[in-house]
Subunit: 353 residues, 3 copies
C-alpha cells in the first residue's frame, strides 16, 4: 500500500518514551525505534541494524548512543555509526534517521523527504497547548483495520446514533445535514443539531432541558488527523453559554490493515476537576474499545483485503465528508508518488549499499 509520506504522523505519546525506553513501533509498514538522547530529546531510527538486521530496539541505550544488542555497534541519533568494535567506522554503517518533533504531548515523525520536514510545521491540534493535567487525557488503541476506515468513522457521525445508543445516540446527528467545506488547511465538517433531543451522555453530564442546541465541529488535516469541538445548550440559549468538549482523533497507519489509533481530550470548563476528567476519559476509552474498534475491525474483515472502492459501496448523504476526504488523500498520494517515480514506495533501500 502507498502511504502519504511528506507529512508529520503522530507516532506515540510523549509519556510512552521515558529516559531509558526503546520503543519499537511499525509505521507505514516500516520498523522504527524511538528513544531519547542524553538531553532528553526524542530520536527515531530505522529499527534494523545494517550489519545483521537485528532490531536496534532489542539493544541498549547508553549516553544517548543506541547500541545493537547483537554485535555492539553504536549509532547516533543521526543514524551514523559512532562506535564499531569490529573495525573502522565506515559511512555505509548507518541507518535511516527520521525527523522527529515533540508537540502537544505527542511524538511526531516525518517519513518522507527529510529536506521538506524543516519547513513543514507539526499539525496544530488547536486545543492541546497549555492544558492543565487535570483537564487532559490521552489514549492509544492498536486496531486491526485500515486507518482510513477509522477516518471514515469520525467523519460520519451519524454512526453514533446506531453504534453508541447509550451515550451519543438519539438520532440528532442523523436528522441533521452535515456542512462540509474544504479549505487550504484541510476540511471542516459541522453538525449543528438545533432544537433536538438531548443525547444520553448530555443527561449524564447534568443537562436537564427538554430540547438542546448542540454542535460538533470537526477540523480534518491530511491524511488522518481530526480535532473536534462538541457542546450543547438548552435550545434557544446563546451558544456562548455552552461548555465545550475538545477531542483529537489521530490515526497512524501501522500496516495496510492495522492502525495506531491515538486520541486525546480536554474541555473549556472545570479545568481543575480531576474527578470529572477521569470519568470522561474512562467513558470515552470504553466507547472506543467496546463499540467503534470491534465494528471497524469487523468491517475490515468483511472486506477481505479488497480495495474499498472496488467493493462499490452504496454512498449516502452522510458520507459526503468521508468521501471528499478519501478523494483528497488519494490525490495527495498520487501527486506525491508521481513526483518521485523511481523512489521506493514502502521500506527505504538500505543505505549501506
Amino acid at each position: 500500500m502507498t502511504f502519504l509520506r511528506n507529512c508529520w504522523y503522530l507516532a506515540g505519546w510523549s509519556r510512552e518514551v521515558g529516559p531509558d525506553t526503546l520503543l519499537p513501533r511499525r509505521l507505514l509498514d516500516e520498523p522504527v525505534v524511538f528513544y531519547r538522547n542524553a538531553d532528553g530529546n526524542i530520536a527515531a531510527l530505522h529499527d534494523r541494524c545494517p550489519h545483521r538486521f537485528a532490531p536496534l530496539s532489542s539493544g541498549k541505550l547508553a549516553d544517548g548512543t543506541l547500541y545493537c544488542g547483537y554485535h555492539g555497534i553504536g549509532f547516533g541519533t543521526d543514524g551514523q555509526c559512532v562506535e564499531n568494535p569490529h573495525g573502522p567506522i565506515v559511512r555505509s554503517l548507518c541507518v535511516q534517521a527520521y525527523p522527529v518533533r515533540e508537540s502537544q504531548h505527542g511524538i511526531w515523525i516525518w517519513m518522507g523527504d527529510p529536506d521538506r520536514a524543516e519547513a513543514t510545521p507539526v499539525p496544530d491540534l488547536q486545543h492541546f497547548h497549555d492544558v492543565p493535567e487535570t483537564a487532559y487525557s490521552n489514549g492509544y488503541l492498536h486496531c486491526a483495520a485500515n486507518y482510513m476506515l477509522f477516518v471514515d468513522n469520525i467523519l460520519d457521525l451519524t454512526h453514533a446514533d446506531t453504534l453508541h445508543p447509550d451515550t451519543l445516540g438519539g438520532g440528532s446527528y442523523t436528522r441533521t445535514k452535515v456542512k462540509v467545506s474544504e479549505h487550504d488547511k484541510g476540511m471542516s465538517l459541522q453538525w449543528h443539531c438545533w432544537d433536538e433531543v438531548p443525547q444520553p451522555n448530555m443527561r449524564l453530564n447534568g443537562f436537564t432541558a427538554d430540547t438542546a442546541d448542540s454542535w460538533t465541529e470537526i477540523e480534518w488535516q491530511a491524511p488522518s488527523i481530526m480535532t473536534l469541538r462538541n457542546g450543547a445548550v438548552p435550545a434557544g440559549t446563546p451558544r456562548e453559554d455552552g461548555k465545550n468538549f475538545l477531542v483529537a482523533h489521530i490515526m497512524t497507519p501501522e500496516t495496510e490493515t492495522t492502525t495506531h489509533y491515538f486520541f486525546a481530550a480536554t474541555r473549556d470548563f472545570e479545568l481543575a476537576n480531576r474527578e470529572l476528567n477521569d470519568r470522561i476519559a474512562a467513558t470515552r476509552a470504553s466507547i472506543f474499545t467496546r463499540e467503534d474498534k470491534p465494528m471497524i475491525e469487523l468491517q475490515q474483515e468483511r472486506m477481505q483485503g479488497q480495495d474499498f472502492w472496488s467493493l462499490k459501496p452504496v454512498l449516502l448523504r452522510s458520507d459526503e465528508g468521508a468521501v471528499k476526504v478519501r478523494r483528497k488523500v488519494d490525490a495527495l498520494i498520487h501527486a506525491e508518488t508521481a513526483g518521485r517515480k523511481d523512489a521506493p514506495q514502502s521500506e527505504p533501500a538500505n543505505l549501506a549499499s
Copy 2:
C-alpha cells in the same frame, strides 16, 4: 475453489436459530447471516452491508427487519432496504437474499441461480421425517479440511476397521466388496457383510451371536449428502428381524479447506427409549470428534494445499465409490461453470453498483 452452486446445502440445524438469533456462517466462502422473520420463517442474507461493509450479523433484529449495527440501515428478508435513516430508499441499497427452506430439522440454502431453486426439492434424507424426539439426535463439527475428504471418508467404510477398532472394527468392511451403483438421484453403496465377525459396538448393544449378517447401505446425493442404513442379525437370520440405525452425514463447504460437518441419527426400534438415544448420540459424537476429524485434518495438512489428484493417490478397490463420486461432482461443477462463463465463481458482485 469452484463449488457446485445450483443445489441445496444444509447450512445449520433449525435449533441453532432462535427467534432473536443472528447466526453468521460462511458457506462456499461467502458470508451469510441467518435469522427468522416476524412469522418465524428463516431468512438468509449476504452478511455484509452494502453501505460500509459491516457484517449485518453484528446488527439488530426488530420485527423481522435486520438493521445494520453501524449506521442503522434496515433490510427485509428479500435483501431490499426497507429503512434508510440517511436518505431515500434507493434500489441499489440491497444485499443478496438467498432462497432458504426448513426441512428435516435443518436449514437449507440455495447459493446458485435463484430462479432454479423453486423447482428443485430440498434433498430427502429419507429417515428424518416425523421422527420422535426420543429417537433423534443431531450434531455439528467445524472441521479444518476440504469437504470432499469427509465425503471420501464415509464412502470408504473400510477405514472403520483401522480408525475405529473399538466400535466398528473387526475387519468385516475390509473383507467385503462394496457394491456401487449410480442412478439418477445419485449413487448407492452397499456393504453386505454376511457371516462375519460381529463389530465391537454390536456387542455393546447386546448382540450375542458368534457370527453376524450385517449391512451398511449408503445413499449419496450431490455434492456431499449421505444417508446410511446400518443393521445386523445373527448370521442366517432373516434380515427383516434386524434393527436398523439410520444416519445422515452432510458436509457443507465453509472455505476450500474448512467444512461444516453436520450429522443426524435415528433408528427403527425402541423409538421411545431416550436413554438409549442419548447413549448412541454420545458414542457417535465421540467417534467423530476423536477419531475421524483429527485424522482427516491431518490428511488436509499433509496435502499442503495441493489438489487431491495432482498428488497422484494410489487408489485401491475400496476407493471405487469415493472416486466415482469425486468424478461426478467434478463433472457437475464443470457443467455448471461452462453454462455461466462470465458469472462470478466465488463471491457475488455487490448489487449496489
Copy 3:
C-alpha cells in the same frame, strides 16, 4: 528454498526414538517419520501414506512394520507396502525411504540421491565417540529462523561479547582477529585470545589468574555442522595445561524459516563429575534459549522473508568466516542443482504415479 541434499543431516538425538516411538519431523520442508524396526535399527519414511495422504506417524508400529492409521496399509523400512488389507500389493504402493544412520548419539538422514549415501561417511563430530555419560549432554531447540542465521551466529563469536555479557563477554573475541582457513573437509576458524581479560564464565569455573590465554577453535562442515574446542590457561602458561570444553552446534533446516537446532557438549577433564556436567549443560541451554534464540528469531522477523544478500548487509571483519561459509554453501547447492536440472527441488514426487 533450495537445500543441499547430498549430505547427512542430523535429524534427532537417538534418545528421542524409543522402541515404540513414531517421531514426525519436517526436514528440508519434507515430512519424515522416524521409528525403529524389530531389531532396534532406525528407519525413516516419507510421512505421508501414498493412498490417502494421512501421516504415517499417526499410525501404528507392530514388529517393525509401520501401519497407516487410516486404512491399515503396512509398510516396511524400505518404504514398500508389505501388507494391503484392500487388495494386492502393487509396486506403486510405496513411500520414499531415506538412508539413515545412528552415530555419536544422533540419528542422521540422507535426503539426496540414495545411491550416494553409502559412499559418504556420516560427519565426524570428533569429540563425541566413547564419551562417558557423566561428561556428555545434548539438547534441542526448535527455532523460528533460517538455519544459516544460526550458522552465522556461531561463526562470528564476537557476538558473545555483546549478547552474552555475563558468561562469555568481556571483549576478548572482539579484540582478537579470527583466523579462517578453508580445507577439503570444510573450514577452520581460530580465535586465539592471548593475554586477555578472562571471560565471566571462566571465573565461575574457578579460573583465578588476572589474565588468560584462551582459545576457541571451530571446525565447520557443510552445510551447518560445527564443532568447537574451547579452553583457557593463565596467560603465559603452556596450553597443554588447559582444560577443554568440546561442543557441537548442528542446525538442520525444518523449513526456509524454521530450524532444528541440536547441540551437544563434552570436555577433556573431570569426566566422572556428573554434578559439573549437569551444571554446564544447564548454563549452556539457558544461554541458547534466553539469548541466542530470541535475538536470531528477531533478526529473521526483521528480514521479513527477504533474501539475506538482497538486504545488502554491511559486512565487518568479523564476518569473514560466516561469509566464506555462506558462499561455500551457495556454491555447493548451485553445483548440486546444476547436476540434476529436472529433479524436484523440494518435496519428492510421489512414487506411486
